[in-house]
């Protein structure tokens, strides 16, 4: 199957789940007693599932300021994501303005799983648009159907999103340095989740980059010219062509491949490609897009596990 077709199918699977979770978001907002336009507007202009679930809970609890602050903290990871996909979006201002809104965890994961710059760009817009549309359709359905929408957890959708992310990032983890960084960061994030407000633990995963400075590591100070993270993954010549993609999802790696992502595209690659769009709000995981609302349940109108940032 060609990459676009496969990507379309994969994004379709994710989109179906997003419709369901978007519906639960719409229904929960209504159950909280918020006006019907609230979830619809949020899905359009915020387009970040985790932050939206968190925010409606805090709105319902009468704490809009906390809702904004907590949501922004949860979304802070989009800044490093933006740095990573900037090259993919190109230099045209319109693409950047529009593409930025479509940035979500899933879009970034799908995009960075590709190695070819042109393909990356197509995937970004394709996945982003698909997820934006499905998330918004889901939200409207949820508002319309209200209580008739079941809890997506019954369908196991809360497991679908992390599993999908894992499938997307696995190829990148074949690179030894990337794997060390990512697993260290993930362990830190999980360990810190019980003690930090939503959003911060995932950001703390960036501290995983410090392993590159370990003795013998690629960035150990005092090793002039040391190369960080070389894609160890098998056969990757400096510019991995399509032929060198790791098998799975066609994908390449999130990992530092010279020749990938932001690097090569950067300056003038402006507008090679057709712009679809991209984005993705999936609710239900915790800090991500997919990740929603810490501790919210429809029958528990107030997020009792959320704690203000200390």
């Amino acid at each position: 199957m060609s990459t676009p077709k496969r990507t379309l199918r994969d994004a379709g699977a994710l989109a179906a789940a997003m419709v369901a979770v978007g519906a639960s978001f719409g229904a929960i907002a209504i159950a909280y007693g918020l006006p019907p336009w609230t979830p619809v507007l949020m899905s359009l202009v915020v387009f970040a599932g985790g932050a939206q679930f968190l925010a409606v809970g805090l709105f319902a609890a009468g704490n809009p300021v906390a809702a904004v602050l907590a949501g922004l903290l949860l979304n802070a990871r989009h800044l490093p994501f933006g740095l990573a996909v900037s090259g993919t979006l190109g230099t045209r201002l319109r693409d950047r303005l529009l593409g930025s809104h479509l940035m979500t965890d899933e879009t970034v994961a799908f995009t960075l799983a590709e190695t070819d710059p042109a393909r990356r760009r197509r995937v970004y817009w394709l996945v982003g648009t698909t997820l934006f549309i499905s998330w918004n359709i889901g939200t409207v359905l949820g508002v319309a159907l209200g209580g008739a929408v079941g809890n997506p957890d019954t369908l196991g959708l809360d497991a679908a999103f992390p599993a999908g992310l894992i499938a997307l990032i696995l190829p990148a983890l074949r690179d030894r340095e990337t794997r060390l960084v990512a697993l260290t960061g993930a362990a830190l994030a999980v360990a810190l989740t019980p003690v930090l407000p939503a959003g911060l633990p995932v950001l703390c995963a960036l501290l995983g980059l410090l392993v590159l400075f370990r003795p013998g590591g690629p960035l150990r100070p005092g090793r002039p010219g040391s190369q960080p993270a070389r894609p160890a993954s098998g056969s990757s010549p400096a510019h991995p062509g399509p032929g060198s993609l790791p098998a799975h999802r066609g994908s390449g790696s999130l990992s530092p491949r010279p020749g990938s992502d932001s690097l090569p595209l950067r300056p003038g690659s402006g507008s090679l490609s057709p712009r679809l769009d991209s984005g993705s709000p999936v609710p239900r995981l915790r800090s991500g897009f997919l990740r929603p609302r810490p501790g919210l349940r429809s029958d528990r109108p107030v997020p009792d596990t959320w704690r203000p940032a200390c």
């Binding site: 933006g82 930025s100 960075l112 809360d158 894992i166 995932v202 993270a229 959320w306």
Partner: protein
Amino acid sequence: MLIAAILALAAGTYATRLSGVLLRDRLELSDQLQRLLPMAAAALLTALAATAALMAGSDFAGVARPAGVLVGGLLAWRKAPFVVVVVAAAGVTALLRLAGLP
């Protein structure tokens, strides 16, 4: 008030997204640092997957979800198609819940 809060959240989120994209040009990053960007994204995404798989709010997520994600992860590792990974993870979790596991 509600609408102001929503718009503030939207504006802040959008600004965060856009600033990463725009900043990239302004930063004079060495080749070394440039190579770190995809690694940083990989670390964030892995952390998102791990916390989403294992945690619910600030507590552990129980058995069903981590088990489903584990099955999905193993399938992904065996190079199963993406759709299979996602459906299997959801299916296992749903069945375990049906069986009464948390």
